[in-house]
Protein backbone atom coordinates (compact mmCIF):
# COMPACT_ATOMS: atom_id res chain seq x y z
CA UNK A 1 0.00 0.00 0.00
CA UNK A 2 1.11 3.47 -0.79
CA UNK A 3 2.30 5.53 2.12
CA UNK A 4 -0.36 8.20 1.84
CA UNK A 5 1.32 10.66 4.14
CA UNK A 6 4.59 10.37 2.30
CA UNK A 7 3.04 10.78 -1.10
CA UNK A 8 0.98 13.73 0.00
CA UNK A 9 3.94 15.36 1.64
CA UNK A 10 6.01 15.06 -1.52
CA UNK A 11 3.22 16.31 -3.75
CA UNK A 12 2.56 19.28 -1.51
CA UNK A 13 6.25 20.02 -1.47
CA UNK A 14 6.33 20.04 -5.25
CA UNK A 15 3.30 22.28 -5.45
CA UNK A 16 4.71 24.73 -2.94
CA UNK A 17 7.93 24.71 -4.88
CA UNK A 18 6.01 25.55 -8.05
CA UNK A 19 4.26 28.37 -6.22
CA UNK A 20 7.55 29.86 -5.15
CA UNK A 21 8.81 29.81 -8.73
CA UNK A 22 5.60 31.08 -10.29
CA UNK A 23 5.14 33.82 -7.71
CA UNK A 24 8.84 34.72 -8.15
CA UNK A 25 9.91 34.08 -4.57
CA UNK A 26 13.28 32.84 -5.70
CA UNK A 27 15.12 33.23 -2.45
CA UNK A 28 12.58 31.06 -0.69
CA UNK A 29 12.84 28.62 -3.55
CA UNK A 30 16.62 28.33 -3.18
CA UNK A 31 16.07 27.19 0.38
CA UNK A 32 14.34 24.09 -0.97
CA UNK A 33 17.50 22.96 -2.70
CA UNK A 34 20.07 20.67 -1.16
CA UNK A 35 23.57 22.19 -1.17
CA UNK A 36 24.63 19.34 -3.47
CA UNK A 37 21.69 19.68 -5.78
CA UNK A 38 22.07 18.83 -9.49
CA UNK A 39 19.65 20.13 -12.05
CA UNK A 40 19.83 18.15 -15.27
CA UNK A 41 17.88 18.73 -18.47
CA UNK A 42 19.52 16.69 -21.23
CA UNK A 43 19.24 17.37 -24.94
CA UNK A 44 17.19 14.70 -26.69
CA UNK A 45 17.96 13.46 -30.19
CA UNK A 46 15.96 11.68 -32.85
CA UNK A 47 17.45 8.23 -32.98
CA UNK A 48 16.00 4.79 -33.62
CA UNK A 49 13.86 3.25 -30.90
CA UNK A 50 16.59 0.76 -30.23
CA UNK A 51 19.40 3.28 -29.85
CA UNK A 52 20.93 4.22 -26.52
CA UNK A 53 21.94 7.69 -27.64
CA UNK A 54 18.62 9.44 -27.25
CA UNK A 55 19.69 11.66 -24.35
CA UNK A 56 22.94 13.45 -23.75
CA UNK A 57 24.86 12.26 -20.69
CA UNK A 58 24.92 14.04 -17.38
CA UNK A 59 28.28 15.38 -16.33
CA UNK A 60 29.74 14.82 -19.78
CA UNK A 61 27.78 16.21 -22.71
CA UNK A 62 25.92 19.38 -23.47
CA UNK A 63 22.56 19.75 -21.79
CA UNK A 64 19.96 22.47 -21.60
CA UNK A 65 20.90 22.56 -17.94
CA UNK A 66 23.43 20.50 -16.01
CA UNK A 67 24.34 22.46 -12.99
CA UNK A 68 24.50 22.78 -9.23
CA UNK A 69 23.93 25.37 -6.58
CA UNK A 70 26.51 27.80 -7.93
CA UNK A 71 24.96 28.39 -11.32
CA UNK A 72 21.42 28.07 -10.02
CA UNK A 73 22.11 30.82 -7.54
CA UNK A 74 23.62 32.96 -10.26
CA UNK A 75 20.45 32.55 -12.31
CA UNK A 76 18.40 33.76 -9.39
CA UNK A 77 20.75 36.63 -8.75
CA UNK A 78 20.61 37.63 -12.38
CA UNK A 79 16.82 37.82 -12.20
CA UNK A 80 17.17 39.97 -9.13
CA UNK A 81 19.28 42.56 -10.95
CA UNK A 82 16.04 43.70 -12.63
CA UNK A 83 17.96 44.25 -15.85
CA UNK A 84 18.03 40.67 -17.11
CA UNK A 85 16.19 41.71 -20.26
CA UNK A 86 14.97 38.29 -21.29
CA UNK A 87 12.95 38.31 -18.08
CA UNK A 88 12.37 42.01 -17.70
CA UNK A 89 9.52 42.80 -17.68
CA UNK A 90 9.07 39.35 -16.15
CA UNK A 91 7.39 36.51 -17.98
CA UNK A 92 4.19 35.03 -16.68
CA UNK A 93 4.98 31.41 -15.86
CA UNK A 94 2.94 28.51 -14.57
CA UNK A 95 4.41 25.17 -13.58
CA UNK A 96 1.81 22.44 -13.80
CA UNK A 97 3.13 19.39 -11.98
CA UNK A 98 1.11 16.23 -12.47
CA UNK A 99 1.30 12.44 -12.20
CA UNK A 100 3.47 12.48 -9.11
CA UNK A 101 4.08 9.10 -7.54
CA UNK A 102 6.96 7.61 -5.64
CA UNK A 103 8.67 4.70 -7.33
CA UNK A 104 11.42 4.57 -4.72
CA UNK A 105 11.80 5.38 -1.08
CA UNK A 106 14.68 4.36 1.10
CA UNK A 107 15.96 5.16 4.56
CA UNK A 108 14.32 5.61 7.90
CA UNK A 109 11.66 8.21 8.60
CA UNK A 110 13.52 11.38 9.37
CA UNK A 111 16.23 10.68 6.85
CA UNK A 112 14.38 9.21 3.93
CA UNK A 113 15.35 9.64 0.34
CA UNK A 114 12.60 9.37 -2.21
CA UNK A 115 12.39 9.41 -5.94
CA UNK A 116 9.34 11.15 -7.30
CA UNK A 117 8.19 10.70 -10.86
CA UNK A 118 6.08 13.51 -12.37
CA UNK A 119 5.08 15.19 -15.57
CA UNK A 120 5.41 18.90 -16.05
CA UNK A 121 3.80 21.43 -18.32
CA UNK A 122 5.47 24.78 -17.94
CA UNK A 123 3.68 27.61 -19.67
CA UNK A 124 5.50 30.85 -20.30
CA UNK A 125 3.89 33.99 -21.65
CA UNK A 126 5.55 37.34 -22.02
CA UNK A 127 5.04 40.80 -23.51
CA UNK A 128 2.11 40.63 -25.93
CA UNK A 129 1.79 37.25 -27.56
CA UNK A 130 4.99 35.35 -26.95
CA UNK A 131 4.15 31.97 -25.49
CA UNK A 132 6.11 28.79 -24.92
CA UNK A 133 5.04 25.31 -23.96
CA UNK A 134 7.55 23.11 -22.17
CA UNK A 135 6.25 19.61 -21.56
CA UNK A 136 8.13 16.62 -20.26
CA UNK A 137 8.98 14.15 -17.58
CA UNK A 138 10.53 14.97 -14.27
CA UNK A 139 12.37 12.70 -11.87
CA UNK A 140 13.21 14.23 -8.53
CA UNK A 141 15.32 12.86 -5.72
CA UNK A 142 14.35 14.43 -2.43
CA UNK A 143 16.02 13.92 0.88
CA UNK A 144 14.32 14.42 4.18
CA UNK A 145 15.64 17.20 6.30
CA UNK A 146 14.19 18.59 9.47
CA UNK A 147 10.65 17.52 8.76
CA UNK A 148 10.67 18.62 5.19
CA UNK A 149 12.39 17.82 1.90
CA UNK A 150 15.36 19.13 0.01
CA UNK A 151 15.87 18.64 -3.68
CA UNK A 152 19.01 16.65 -4.29
CA UNK A 153 18.64 15.81 -7.93
CA UNK A 154 16.24 16.73 -10.69
CA UNK A 155 16.15 15.29 -14.19
CA UNK A 156 13.78 16.77 -16.72
CA UNK A 157 13.27 15.01 -20.02
CA UNK A 158 11.90 17.83 -22.12
CA UNK A 159 9.80 16.54 -25.00
CA UNK A 160 11.54 18.69 -27.58
CA UNK A 161 14.55 18.00 -29.68
CA UNK A 162 14.82 21.43 -31.22
CA UNK A 163 13.86 23.77 -28.42
CA UNK A 164 10.86 25.69 -29.65
CA UNK A 165 11.49 28.70 -27.44
CA UNK A 166 13.93 31.51 -27.98
CA UNK A 167 15.44 31.13 -24.54
CA UNK A 168 15.21 29.00 -21.46
CA UNK A 169 14.84 31.50 -18.66
CA UNK A 170 12.53 29.40 -16.52
CA UNK A 171 13.47 26.52 -14.27
CA UNK A 172 11.75 23.39 -15.59
Amino acid sequence: MTDLALLSSVQTWLYREADLLDYREYDEWLKLLHPDVRYFVPIVRNVPRTATTEFTTEGKDLAWMDEGMTIITKRVNQLKTNIHWAEEPPSRVSHLVTNTWIPECEGEPGSRRVTASSRIFVYQNRIDDEQNFFVGKRKDVLVESEGSWLLLHRTVHLDQSVMLAKALTVFL
Partner: protein
Protein backbone atom coordinates in the same frame (compact mmCIF):
# COMPACT_ATOMS: atom_id res chain seq x y z
CA UNK B 1 17.07 62.53 -42.95
CA UNK B 2 16.12 62.31 -46.59
CA UNK B 3 14.80 58.92 -47.48
CA UNK B 4 17.03 56.68 -49.54
CA UNK B 5 15.54 54.02 -51.78
CA UNK B 6 18.30 51.41 -51.77
CA UNK B 7 18.25 48.64 -49.22
CA UNK B 8 21.87 49.24 -48.28
CA UNK B 9 23.43 52.72 -48.35
CA UNK B 10 27.10 52.02 -47.69
CA UNK B 11 28.36 55.57 -47.72
CA UNK B 12 25.85 56.60 -45.07
CA UNK B 13 25.90 53.47 -42.93
CA UNK B 14 22.21 52.79 -43.49
CA UNK B 15 20.46 49.46 -43.83
CA UNK B 16 16.77 49.23 -44.62
CA UNK B 17 14.64 47.39 -42.08
CA UNK B 18 12.88 45.72 -44.97
CA UNK B 19 15.70 43.18 -45.29
CA UNK B 20 14.84 41.92 -41.83
CA UNK B 21 11.13 41.38 -42.31
CA UNK B 22 10.12 41.01 -45.95
CA UNK B 23 9.36 37.69 -47.50
CA UNK B 24 10.46 38.49 -51.02
CA UNK B 25 13.89 39.59 -49.88
CA UNK B 26 14.15 36.52 -47.71
CA UNK B 27 13.46 34.21 -50.63
CA UNK B 28 16.06 36.01 -52.68
CA UNK B 29 18.58 35.56 -49.88
CA UNK B 30 17.95 31.83 -49.95
CA UNK B 31 18.50 31.81 -53.65
CA UNK B 32 21.45 34.14 -53.97
CA UNK B 33 23.36 33.67 -50.75
CA UNK B 34 22.62 30.26 -49.30
CA UNK B 35 23.04 28.35 -52.55
CA UNK B 36 26.34 30.05 -53.31
CA UNK B 37 28.32 30.62 -50.17
CA UNK B 38 30.40 28.18 -48.21
CA UNK B 39 28.26 27.06 -45.31
CA UNK B 40 29.33 25.34 -42.12
CA UNK B 41 27.56 21.98 -41.89
CA UNK B 42 29.19 19.83 -39.24
CA UNK B 43 32.06 19.02 -36.97
CA UNK B 44 34.01 15.88 -37.67
CA UNK B 45 33.38 14.62 -34.15
CA UNK B 46 29.79 14.14 -35.19
CA UNK B 47 30.94 11.56 -37.73
CA UNK B 48 34.13 10.07 -36.35
CA UNK B 49 33.82 6.63 -37.95
CA UNK B 50 33.28 5.40 -41.45
CA UNK B 51 29.58 5.02 -42.06
CA UNK B 52 28.68 7.74 -39.56
CA UNK B 53 26.21 10.38 -40.52
CA UNK B 54 24.62 13.44 -38.98
CA UNK B 55 21.84 15.65 -40.31
CA UNK B 56 22.37 19.33 -40.91
CA UNK B 57 20.97 22.29 -42.77
CA UNK B 58 22.03 24.56 -45.62
CA UNK B 59 19.66 27.47 -45.80
CA UNK B 60 16.21 25.95 -45.68
CA UNK B 61 17.42 22.66 -47.12
CA UNK B 62 17.99 19.61 -44.96
CA UNK B 63 21.21 17.72 -45.67
CA UNK B 64 22.97 14.63 -44.40
CA UNK B 65 26.67 14.79 -43.73
CA UNK B 66 28.19 11.36 -44.14
CA UNK B 67 31.57 9.73 -43.85
CA UNK B 68 31.94 7.02 -46.44
CA UNK B 69 33.77 3.72 -46.09
CA UNK B 70 36.94 5.35 -47.33
CA UNK B 71 36.58 8.00 -44.65
CA UNK B 72 35.65 10.74 -47.06
CA UNK B 73 33.00 13.27 -46.08
CA UNK B 74 29.95 14.01 -48.23
CA UNK B 75 27.01 16.35 -48.01
CA UNK B 76 23.76 15.05 -49.46
CA UNK B 77 20.34 16.62 -49.80
CA UNK B 78 18.11 14.82 -47.31
CA UNK B 79 15.26 14.01 -49.63
CA UNK B 80 14.57 10.88 -51.62
CA UNK B 81 14.87 11.64 -55.31
CA UNK B 82 11.93 9.37 -56.07
CA UNK B 83 9.05 11.11 -54.37
CA UNK B 84 10.75 13.37 -51.91
CA UNK B 85 10.41 11.56 -48.61
CA UNK B 86 12.74 12.91 -45.96
CA UNK B 87 15.19 10.09 -46.30
CA UNK B 88 16.86 10.26 -42.92
CA UNK B 89 14.68 11.23 -40.01
CA UNK B 90 17.27 10.31 -37.42
CA UNK B 91 19.57 13.05 -36.22
CA UNK B 92 22.65 10.84 -36.36
CA UNK B 93 23.84 7.29 -36.57
CA UNK B 94 25.94 4.84 -38.50
CA UNK B 95 24.75 3.05 -41.60
CA UNK B 96 25.84 1.45 -44.85
CA UNK B 97 22.83 2.69 -46.80
CA UNK B 98 19.90 5.02 -46.39
CA UNK B 99 16.69 3.25 -47.18
CA UNK B 100 13.58 5.26 -47.94
CA UNK B 101 10.55 4.43 -45.82
CA UNK B 102 8.11 5.18 -48.64
CA UNK B 103 9.07 2.87 -51.53
CA UNK B 104 12.37 1.48 -50.44
CA UNK B 105 14.83 3.18 -52.76
CA UNK B 106 18.18 2.94 -51.09
CA UNK B 107 21.23 5.11 -51.37
CA UNK B 108 24.79 4.28 -50.68
CA UNK B 109 27.05 5.81 -48.09
CA UNK B 110 29.73 3.46 -49.24
CA UNK B 111 32.17 4.80 -51.74
CA UNK B 112 33.32 1.34 -52.75
CA UNK B 113 30.30 -0.38 -54.22
CA UNK B 114 29.02 2.62 -56.12
CA UNK B 115 30.73 5.52 -57.76
CA UNK B 116 29.71 8.10 -55.24
CA UNK B 117 28.18 8.00 -51.81
CA UNK B 118 24.56 9.00 -52.13
CA UNK B 119 24.25 7.11 -55.40
CA UNK B 120 21.07 5.21 -55.94
CA UNK B 121 22.12 1.76 -54.81
CA UNK B 122 18.89 -0.13 -54.59
CA UNK B 123 15.66 0.23 -56.51
CA UNK B 124 13.12 -2.48 -55.73
CA UNK B 125 11.92 -3.94 -59.01
CA UNK B 126 14.52 -2.18 -61.09
CA UNK B 127 14.72 -4.85 -63.76
CA UNK B 128 11.08 -5.86 -63.51
CA UNK B 129 8.85 -2.90 -62.65
CA UNK B 130 11.22 -0.41 -64.22
CA UNK B 131 12.19 -2.70 -67.10
CA UNK B 132 15.74 -1.71 -66.28
CA UNK B 133 14.97 1.69 -67.75
CA UNK B 134 15.75 4.03 -64.91
CA UNK B 135 18.99 5.94 -65.37
CA UNK B 136 20.11 5.27 -61.83
CA UNK B 137 23.20 7.43 -62.13
CA UNK B 138 20.96 10.46 -62.52
CA UNK B 139 18.89 9.73 -59.47
CA UNK B 140 21.35 9.55 -56.64
CA UNK B 141 20.88 11.98 -53.81
CA UNK B 142 21.60 15.56 -54.75
CA UNK B 143 25.17 16.17 -53.63
CA UNK B 144 26.73 19.41 -52.61
CA UNK B 145 29.36 19.73 -55.35
CA UNK B 146 31.77 21.42 -53.00
CA UNK B 147 32.69 19.96 -49.63
CA UNK B 148 35.68 20.93 -47.58
CA UNK B 149 36.97 19.63 -44.28
CA UNK B 150 39.01 22.19 -42.43
CA UNK B 151 40.61 21.41 -39.09
CA UNK B 152 37.75 19.13 -38.12
CA UNK B 153 35.00 21.44 -39.37
CA UNK B 154 32.97 20.52 -42.44
CA UNK B 155 31.80 23.08 -44.99
CA UNK B 156 29.84 22.82 -48.19
CA UNK B 157 28.50 24.88 -51.07
CA UNK B 158 25.88 24.20 -53.72
CA UNK B 159 27.74 26.31 -56.24
CA UNK B 160 30.33 24.55 -58.41
CA UNK B 161 31.79 28.00 -59.15
CA UNK B 162 32.44 28.86 -55.54
CA UNK B 163 36.11 29.76 -54.88
CA UNK B 164 38.16 27.36 -52.82
CA UNK B 165 37.37 27.40 -49.14
CA UNK B 166 40.76 28.94 -48.38
CA UNK B 167 40.21 31.71 -50.91
CA UNK B 168 36.73 32.26 -49.57
CA UNK B 169 38.16 32.67 -46.08
CA UNK B 170 41.18 34.71 -47.06
CA UNK B 171 43.24 35.71 -44.08
CA UNK B 172 40.18 35.37 -41.89
CA UNK B 173 41.49 31.81 -41.80
CA UNK B 174 44.15 32.85 -39.32
CA UNK B 175 41.49 33.82 -36.86
CA UNK B 176 39.45 30.73 -37.46
CA UNK B 177 42.64 28.78 -36.80
CA UNK B 178 42.88 30.43 -33.43
CA UNK B 179 39.57 28.85 -32.48
CA UNK B 180 40.26 25.50 -34.10
CA UNK B 181 43.83 25.05 -33.04
CA UNK B 182 44.75 23.93 -29.55
CA UNK B 183 45.21 26.38 -26.74
CA UNK B 184 48.94 25.79 -27.06
CA UNK B 185 48.83 26.47 -30.79
CA UNK B 186 48.82 22.82 -31.81
CA UNK B 187 47.22 22.47 -35.20
CA UNK B 188 43.51 21.57 -35.33
CA UNK B 189 43.53 20.45 -31.75
CA UNK B 190 39.85 20.73 -31.01
CA UNK B 191 37.16 18.35 -29.87
CA UNK B 192 33.44 18.89 -29.81
CA UNK B 193 31.60 18.36 -26.58
CA UNK B 194 28.80 15.85 -27.22
CA UNK B 195 25.46 17.33 -28.21
CA UNK B 196 24.35 20.45 -30.06
CA UNK B 197 22.00 23.17 -28.98
CA UNK B 198 19.32 23.71 -31.58
CA UNK B 199 16.62 26.21 -30.93
CA UNK B 200 14.14 28.46 -32.68
CA UNK B 201 14.26 32.20 -32.33
CA UNK B 202 11.72 34.58 -33.81
CA UNK B 203 14.31 36.82 -35.33
CA UNK B 204 15.73 37.51 -38.71
CA UNK B 205 18.87 35.40 -39.00
CA UNK B 206 21.15 38.36 -39.84
CA UNK B 207 20.89 39.85 -36.36
CA UNK B 208 23.15 37.07 -35.16
CA UNK B 209 26.12 37.20 -37.56
CA UNK B 210 25.94 41.00 -37.43
CA UNK B 211 26.24 40.86 -33.68
CA UNK B 212 29.09 38.38 -33.62
CA UNK B 213 31.07 40.07 -36.37
CA UNK B 214 32.12 42.81 -34.01
CA UNK B 215 29.46 44.32 -31.80
CA UNK B 216 31.35 45.24 -28.66
CA UNK B 217 28.91 48.07 -28.29
CA UNK B 218 26.14 45.84 -26.94
CA UNK B 219 28.15 44.83 -23.88
CA UNK B 220 25.84 47.02 -21.92
CA UNK B 221 22.98 44.63 -22.64
CA UNK B 222 24.83 41.96 -20.67
CA UNK B 223 25.21 43.98 -17.54
CA UNK B 224 22.99 41.66 -15.53
CA UNK B 225 25.25 38.68 -16.10
CA UNK B 226 28.30 40.86 -15.62
CA UNK B 227 27.00 41.89 -12.23
CA UNK B 228 26.47 38.26 -11.30
CA UNK B 229 29.73 37.09 -12.80
CA UNK B 230 30.15 33.78 -14.55
CA UNK B 231 33.77 34.00 -15.67
CA UNK B 232 36.10 31.04 -15.13
CA UNK B 233 38.10 32.90 -12.56
CA UNK B 234 35.20 34.16 -10.51
CA UNK B 235 34.31 37.75 -9.78
CA UNK B 236 32.23 39.95 -11.99
CA UNK B 237 32.04 39.73 -15.74
CA UNK B 238 31.76 36.88 -18.15
CA UNK B 239 35.36 36.15 -19.01
CA UNK B 240 38.92 36.33 -17.89
CA UNK B 241 40.72 39.50 -18.78
CA UNK B 242 41.25 39.80 -22.49
CA UNK B 243 44.33 41.22 -24.19
CA UNK B 244 44.69 44.98 -24.24
CA UNK B 245 45.26 44.97 -27.97
CA UNK B 246 41.70 43.90 -28.76
CA UNK B 247 40.11 45.65 -31.69
CA UNK B 248 37.77 44.82 -34.55
CA UNK B 249 39.09 43.57 -37.82
CA UNK B 250 37.13 43.17 -41.01
CA UNK B 251 37.58 41.84 -44.52
CA UNK B 252 35.71 44.21 -46.82
CA UNK B 253 36.03 42.08 -49.94
CA UNK B 254 34.90 38.93 -48.18
CA UNK B 255 32.25 39.89 -45.66
CA UNK B 256 34.02 38.35 -42.69
CA UNK B 257 35.10 40.06 -39.50
CA UNK B 258 35.96 39.62 -35.88
CA UNK B 259 36.80 41.03 -32.52
CA UNK B 260 40.33 40.13 -31.63
CA UNK B 261 43.93 41.11 -31.73
CA UNK B 262 45.96 42.25 -34.74
CA UNK B 263 48.95 40.17 -35.68
CA UNK B 264 51.61 40.28 -33.02
CA UNK B 265 55.02 38.73 -32.74
CA UNK B 266 55.29 37.90 -29.09
CA UNK B 267 52.89 36.62 -26.51
CA UNK B 268 51.51 39.42 -24.40
CA UNK B 269 52.35 39.20 -20.74
CA UNK B 270 50.61 36.30 -19.06
CA UNK B 271 47.38 36.99 -17.25
CA UNK B 272 46.14 34.16 -15.09
CA UNK B 273 42.95 32.54 -16.31
CA UNK B 274 40.57 29.77 -15.27
CA UNK B 275 41.68 30.27 -11.72
CA UNK B 276 38.51 28.82 -10.22
CA UNK B 277 39.80 25.39 -11.19
CA UNK B 278 43.30 24.49 -10.21
CA UNK B 279 43.94 22.12 -13.05
CA UNK B 280 42.41 24.41 -15.61
CA UNK B 281 44.52 27.27 -14.35
CA UNK B 282 47.65 25.16 -14.62
CA UNK B 283 46.61 24.05 -18.10
CA UNK B 284 46.09 27.66 -19.09
CA UNK B 285 49.53 28.60 -17.87
CA UNK B 286 51.12 25.61 -19.56
CA UNK B 287 49.53 26.59 -22.84
CA UNK B 288 50.85 30.08 -22.54
CA UNK B 289 54.33 28.75 -22.09
CA UNK B 290 53.96 26.42 -25.01
CA UNK B 291 52.76 29.24 -27.21
CA UNK B 292 55.72 31.32 -26.25
CA UNK B 293 57.92 28.46 -27.22
CA UNK B 294 56.11 27.42 -30.34
CA UNK B 295 55.55 30.79 -31.94
CA UNK B 296 58.65 32.59 -30.76
CA UNK B 297 58.74 35.83 -32.75
CA UNK B 298 56.51 34.56 -35.50
CA UNK B 299 53.23 36.15 -36.42
CA UNK B 300 50.27 35.03 -34.37
CA UNK B 301 46.73 36.29 -33.88
CA UNK B 302 44.01 35.74 -31.31
CA UNK B 303 40.35 36.61 -31.12
CA UNK B 304 37.18 36.59 -29.09
CA UNK B 305 34.44 36.26 -31.64
CA UNK B 306 33.89 36.57 -35.37
CA UNK B 307 31.64 35.81 -38.31
CA UNK B 308 32.32 34.01 -41.52
CA UNK B 309 29.89 35.27 -44.11
CA UNK B 310 27.02 34.55 -44.20
CA UNK B 311 25.78 32.60 -41.21
CA UNK B 312 28.56 31.03 -39.18
CA UNK B 313 30.09 32.68 -36.16
CA UNK B 314 32.62 31.38 -33.72
CA UNK B 315 34.14 32.28 -30.40
CA UNK B 316 37.85 31.65 -30.13
CA UNK B 317 38.49 32.04 -26.47
CA UNK B 318 35.83 32.18 -23.79
CA UNK B 319 33.62 30.43 -24.55
CA UNK B 320 35.10 28.53 -27.48
CA UNK B 321 32.18 27.72 -29.71
CA UNK B 322 30.71 27.58 -33.16
CA UNK B 323 27.30 29.04 -33.89
CA UNK B 324 25.19 28.66 -37.03
CA UNK B 325 22.09 30.63 -37.91
CA UNK B 326 19.71 28.72 -40.14
CA UNK B 327 17.06 30.84 -41.83
CA UNK B 328 13.50 29.58 -41.41
CA UNK B 329 11.47 32.62 -42.41
CA UNK B 330 12.12 36.37 -42.58
CA UNK B 331 11.36 36.51 -38.89
CA UNK B 332 12.53 33.13 -37.61
CA UNK B 333 15.83 31.31 -37.46
CA UNK B 334 17.05 28.08 -35.96
CA UNK B 335 20.24 28.66 -34.06
CA UNK B 336 22.82 25.95 -33.43
CA UNK B 337 25.73 25.89 -31.05
CA UNK B 338 28.70 23.57 -30.78
CA UNK B 339 31.34 23.77 -28.07
CA UNK B 340 35.02 23.03 -28.38
CA UNK B 341 37.78 21.94 -26.06
CA UNK B 342 41.30 20.69 -26.69
CA UNK B 343 41.24 17.06 -27.67
CA UNK B 344 44.04 16.22 -25.32
CA UNK B 345 43.05 18.39 -22.39
CA UNK B 346 42.71 16.68 -19.02
CA UNK B 347 39.17 15.59 -18.23
CA UNK B 348 38.82 18.10 -15.43
CA UNK B 349 39.82 20.91 -17.77
CA UNK B 350 37.22 19.80 -20.27
CA UNK B 351 34.68 19.65 -17.50
CA UNK B 352 35.51 23.16 -16.29
CA UNK B 353 35.04 24.36 -19.86
CA UNK B 354 31.77 22.53 -20.29
CA UNK B 355 30.30 24.01 -17.14
CA UNK B 356 31.42 27.47 -18.08
CA UNK B 357 30.17 27.23 -21.66
CA UNK B 358 26.72 26.04 -20.61
CA UNK B 359 26.35 28.92 -18.19
CA UNK B 360 27.25 31.35 -20.96
CA UNK B 361 25.69 30.26 -24.24
CA UNK B 362 22.65 28.59 -25.66
CA UNK B 363 19.02 29.30 -24.83
CA UNK B 364 19.69 28.77 -21.14
CA UNK B 365 22.94 30.71 -21.13
CA UNK B 366 22.99 33.64 -18.75
CA UNK B 367 24.54 35.78 -21.45
CA UNK B 368 22.87 34.57 -24.57
CA UNK B 369 19.27 34.64 -23.40
CA UNK B 370 19.42 38.43 -23.35
CA UNK B 371 20.69 38.49 -26.93
CA UNK B 372 17.66 36.43 -27.93
CA UNK B 373 15.37 38.97 -26.33
CA UNK B 374 17.05 41.81 -28.17
CA UNK B 375 17.13 40.15 -31.56
CA UNK B 376 13.58 38.90 -31.42
CA UNK B 377 12.05 42.17 -30.26
CA UNK B 378 14.16 44.16 -32.71
CA UNK B 379 12.68 41.94 -35.43
CA UNK B 380 9.18 42.23 -34.03
CA UNK B 381 9.56 45.94 -33.76
CA UNK B 382 10.58 46.30 -37.42
CA UNK B 383 7.46 44.72 -38.87
CA UNK B 384 5.16 47.74 -38.71
CA UNK B 385 4.25 49.76 -41.77
CA UNK B 386 6.06 52.89 -40.65
CA UNK B 387 8.76 50.97 -38.87
CA UNK B 388 9.79 48.93 -41.88
CA UNK B 389 10.10 52.04 -43.97
CA UNK B 390 12.99 53.42 -41.95
CA UNK B 391 16.66 52.49 -41.71
CA UNK B 392 18.92 50.98 -39.11
CA UNK B 393 21.91 53.09 -38.20
CA UNK B 394 25.43 51.74 -38.71
CA UNK B 395 27.33 55.00 -38.63
CA UNK B 396 29.65 54.30 -35.75
CA UNK B 397 33.20 54.82 -36.94
CA UNK B 398 32.17 55.36 -40.53
CA UNK B 399 35.27 56.40 -42.47
CA UNK B 400 37.65 55.49 -39.68
CA UNK B 401 38.78 52.12 -40.87
CA UNK B 402 42.51 51.78 -41.44
CA UNK B 403 44.35 49.13 -43.33
CA UNK B 404 45.69 46.43 -41.09
CA UNK B 405 49.26 45.47 -41.65
CA UNK B 406 50.22 41.85 -41.65
CA UNK B 407 46.79 40.57 -42.63
CA UNK B 408 45.84 40.60 -46.29
CA UNK B 409 42.70 42.44 -47.21
CA UNK B 410 41.88 43.44 -43.66
CA UNK B 411 40.97 46.70 -42.04
CA UNK B 412 41.26 47.57 -38.40
CA UNK B 413 38.49 49.62 -36.89
CA UNK B 414 38.96 50.03 -33.19
CA UNK B 415 37.15 48.29 -30.39
CA UNK B 416 33.87 50.13 -30.77
CA UNK B 417 32.75 50.60 -34.35
CA UNK B 418 30.18 49.34 -36.81
CA UNK B 419 32.64 48.91 -39.64
CA UNK B 420 32.40 45.13 -39.51
CA UNK B 421 28.61 45.22 -39.70
CA UNK B 422 28.92 47.55 -42.69
CA UNK B 423 31.30 45.07 -44.28
CA UNK B 424 28.79 42.30 -43.67
CA UNK B 425 25.88 44.15 -45.27
CA UNK B 426 27.96 45.36 -48.18
CA UNK B 427 28.91 41.80 -48.93
CA UNK B 428 25.27 40.80 -48.47
CA UNK B 429 24.38 43.43 -51.04
CA UNK B 430 26.94 42.10 -53.48
CA UNK B 431 25.59 38.58 -53.20
CA UNK B 432 22.03 39.80 -53.65
CA UNK B 433 22.91 41.73 -56.79
CA UNK B 434 25.25 39.22 -58.36
CA UNK B 435 24.02 36.96 -61.12
CA UNK B 436 26.74 34.47 -60.35
CA UNK B 437 30.15 34.19 -58.75
CA UNK B 438 31.51 36.05 -61.77
CA UNK B 439 29.90 39.19 -60.44
CA UNK B 440 31.18 38.69 -56.93
CA UNK B 441 34.57 40.17 -56.36
CA UNK B 442 36.75 37.19 -57.18
CA UNK B 443 38.54 36.17 -54.08
CA UNK B 444 42.32 36.38 -54.42
CA UNK B 445 41.89 37.23 -58.07
CA UNK B 446 45.54 38.24 -58.31
CA UNK B 447 46.71 34.86 -57.15
CA UNK B 448 44.70 33.16 -59.81
CA UNK B 449 46.35 35.05 -62.64
Amino acid sequence: MDNPTELIVPERGLVSRRIFVEDEIFRKELDRIFTRAWLFVAHEDQIPNNGDYVVSKMGTDAVIVTRDMEGKVHVLLNTCTHRGMKLCRNDMGNARTFSCPYHGWSYSMDGRIVEQPGDLAGVPGFSTYYHGELEKKDWGLVRAPKVHVYKRTVWASWDPQVPTFEDYLGDMRLYLDYALDGRDGSEGNNEMIGGIYKWRVNTNWKFAPENFIGDNYHDISHRSVDLVGIGPSGGRGRRDDEPDAATTIGFPALGHGLIGEPPHYAEPEYRPGWTLDEEAAAYDRRNYDRRVEKFGDQRRVSMTVGTIFPNMSFHGRQPRTIAVFHPISPTQMEMWRIFLVDRDAPESVKEAARNYYMSYSGPGGLTESDDMENWSYATESSKGTVSRSIYFNYEMGLGHAVELEGIEGAVENGVFTEENARIFYNRWNEFMNAESWDDLVPVKKEDAE
